[in-house]
Symmetry: C2
Subunit: 467 residues, 2 copies
């Protein structure tokens, strides 16, 4: 999972909090703290009427990028008189527990979901004190891994959190009920739904490429030119290029929004349909693949003269991609420790070249790279796996076009564990701001979320009154 | 808090489990494990009908002592077809994460409530797998700090725990709603309720002693003789002796049971009444105090020729006492890190010599002794303080004569967060086995607990069926 940013025009105050480095040990780091960043907007806060705190549980990126892609919170904050806080996840953005040494040696051991949740608990408490808002209900928001964190805050800290919006949160990654091979099957479906010839041709194109690459230097040279690569391909880098292409498909499927967005680069409206346009009306399907890759890596601007596949794509413990830069290191560690994403492709169920990813491959990689052996059972136990029925006051939203939905909560589990599907939605479209091109379903989903937030706030007030 | 043991005749299998040393860090201790002890009795287990697992969350002592003092679980296990497991808390008994080095250096950082709860979660999962009991409901049991752990397992791991009996669990220690000075006020009340002259004379006796001690060597010599001390008192050891006496009162009040029990030594039935007998019908009230101390430290057997106050009482971060031996070290660390027990005496509200215990005194002691600075806010947030309403399926029982009840849940909080008071009960009397001398109230409390356990089990089955 990797999210990048587009600038929004809602201003914020950038603040830093002295956060405990190790919540779970009173000795190893003693009283040491680090500067945790959070963004704040209090102009809508109705302190007199105990307005709620809308707390965004930041995920694997700079918190500013989430601020800039989560317009829903700002759209509704005025109606609720809410204080808006976006907290940055430790080891991402500017919230580095050990500064430039954060990814060295034992320091990475402090990067866990448990520590991140504890950070948020402590920060919520601090915000409540600062704003004399101890009676303010708290609603958490988050998308993707941040949606998991939003739900987990309600699971583990219901003393602090009255309700949670968990958008496109693949929480069942932590259980054994899902089949991880479904991730790339779902990516494939998006292209198949756009046009069955599209996905068929993409599969064919990969096969053709493979023949070209196997044919020797001439084939590799042709491929290098077709894909406008900065360096000539060889047998090793060919595999990397396949990963680089597959990674483009993941992002185009996730961010298949009905209007242009700006992530790594400018992505047009309906990028899957746009991509399929390159595949169905062409005699050169390999060139079509190259156009799709360029669409993602170069964007509609098309400024890059050539593509550096090593710079633009880094293989890591998460086959859906870790992004690039320091944030990608942090996510790699998390994929190695608590978030299992064993997504393989086989070219049969999905349209991609076969690329297995077994538990043992993950262990080997993680041990070599980080000295970490995954402990999946632990995350499943601590974060409840599929057994979440004893929780309450969570809306789980999922987009019908989002490949991550395969690991999401797709049915209502109880009167106050609600699922909402946005058939035409991509990855947490509902968290984005209102847009004239939005499908009606996302409007309905946001209304349901607002209804539930109002309900949770009222319940919290009733409880406070009786307490 | 300190609990010791009497032998029961229910046999157990003593087993050891390779437990993760650090659940919250994937790097520092890597995959290292330690041998966690647990006791098991499966003769009543009805595997065919998915009998429940009764899981005792061991607290600050050897798990065998809890096995031997928790007859209630064995009394009801046959009716429920339950598998009985008693898990030992890390750093106590034989469950030493670093063997003989467990209390050295940074090793003590692994002694936290969070690690203990995680141990239990992982162990429950293991037991379920071993016994192919994945559909078996799990009910946790615990008394005192173990009662807190029992409730916390339901708070934090409701995916694993279907309901909890939390007997005499002072969970509000983790909040600011309680007045910690009330602990010794409640100890005083027990003696006052037995006979108002008793508590008045105890207070007077302490004042007389103080005069005697201040009068010089002769006074100290008389006191040493009256109390049958092994070493002659001096000005410093006088203060220690006062702590040693006060500690006897705490235990006599806690274990004020209607039949003889065996803790450190043989304690008679109704030890508070027995103690008051020494105080009200005597002209020498100081000698009365000595008799009370002897009653606790020597027991009804009276085998000790003299009392070694340094051996028998160790001052620590918990003014209610940490016991002696290695277990007392572990509890001292816990009192220094997560469990605040700021119990003072003032001689006005209570009958004891004034002895303040401020947050700063605790910090100073803990820093010097263990290099730990308490982080009370953390435990309050993580373990929910007073905000526990979002939990369910817990019975909180408290004894009217138990000084710890001041920090317990004394009212029903919801339909499934139930409080039951046993007016004539001491510290978790309900967890003890049935006894002909039991007051009727404890019978009723146990019936209510059984009713709730049955309800939780049925609910769990219904949920499993619909899942």
């Amino acid at each position: 999972m990797t999210i990048n940013c587009v600038l929004s025009d809602v201003p914020y105050k950038e603040q830093y909090f002295d956060q405990t480095i190790d919540h779970f040990n009173f000795v190893s780091y003693g009283q040491k703290t680090f500067k945790q960043r959070y963004l704040l907007q209090d102009k809508w806060f109705d302190a007199v009427n105990k307005g709620p705190i809308f707390f965004y549980t930041g995920n694997e990126g700079s918190i500013t990028s989430f601020w800039n892609n989560t317009g829903f919170v700002f759209d509704i904050a005025p109606q609720f008189g809410a204080l808006v806080v976006f907290a940055e996840h430790r080891f991402y953005g500017k919230s580095m527990p050990f500064g430039a040494d954060s990814f060295k040696g034992n320091n990475i051991g402090l990067l866990t979901i448990e520590q991140a949740l504890a950070d948020y608990a402590v920060l919520i408490n601090k915000i409540k004190k600062t704003y004399k808002a101890t009676k303010s209900p708290v609603i958490t928001f988050g998308g993707s891994y941040g949606g998991m964190l939003s739900a987990y805050m309600r699971f583990k800290y219901p003393n602090l959190v009255d309700g949670a919006i968990a958008a496109s949160a693949p929480i069942y990654l932590m259980s054994k009920v899902i089949d991880p091979s479904q991730f790339f099957v779902r990516v494939t479906s998006d292209f198949k739904q756009s046009n069955p010839i599209c996905s068929a041709n993409i599969r064919k194109a990969f096969t053709t490429m493979k023949s070209m690459a196997s044919s020797g230097p001439a084939g590799l040279k042709t491929l290098s030119e077709k894909f406008r690569l900065c360096s000539q391909l060889n047998e090793t880098s060919y595999d990397h290029m396949v990963g680089w292409i597959r990674n483009a498909f993941v992002s185009l499927a996730m961010f298949d929004y009905p209007y242009p967005t700006n992530f790594m680069s400018e992505i047009p409206a309906f990028p899957v349909d746009k991509s399929c346009g390159f595949m169905v009306n062409t005699t050169d399907i390999v060139a079509g693949l190259a156009q799709i890759s360029a669409l993602f890596y170069n964007g509609t601007n098309g400024k890059l003269p050539c593509f550096d596949i090593w710079e633009e794509y880094v293989e890591c413990a998460d086959p859906s991609g870790c992004g690039v830069g320091p944030n990608s290191l942090a996510w790699d560690i998390q994929a190695c420790s608590e978030v299992p994403m064993l997504f393989s492709t086989d070219g049969q169920q999905d349209m991609f070249p076969p690329k297995p990813y077994t538990p043992q491959m993950r262990v080997d990689y993680c041990k070599t790279k980080w000295g970490i052996v995954p402990r999946d059972q632990w995350a499943g136990l601590n974060l409840w796996g599929k057994d979440i029925l004893s929780s309450s006051n969570i809306v789980f939203s999922n987009g019908g076009k989002d490949p991550w939905a395969f690991a999401g909560v797709l049915h209502n589990l109880s009167a106050n564990l609600t699922s909402v599907i946005i058939p035409d939605g991509g990855h947490h479209l509902d968290l984005r701001g209102h847009n004239v091109n939005d499908p009606p379903d996302v409007f309905k989903a946001r209304e349901l979320e607002k209804y539930n937030i109002r309900l949770w706030i009222n319940t919290a007030f009733l409880r406070n009154k009786n307490n």
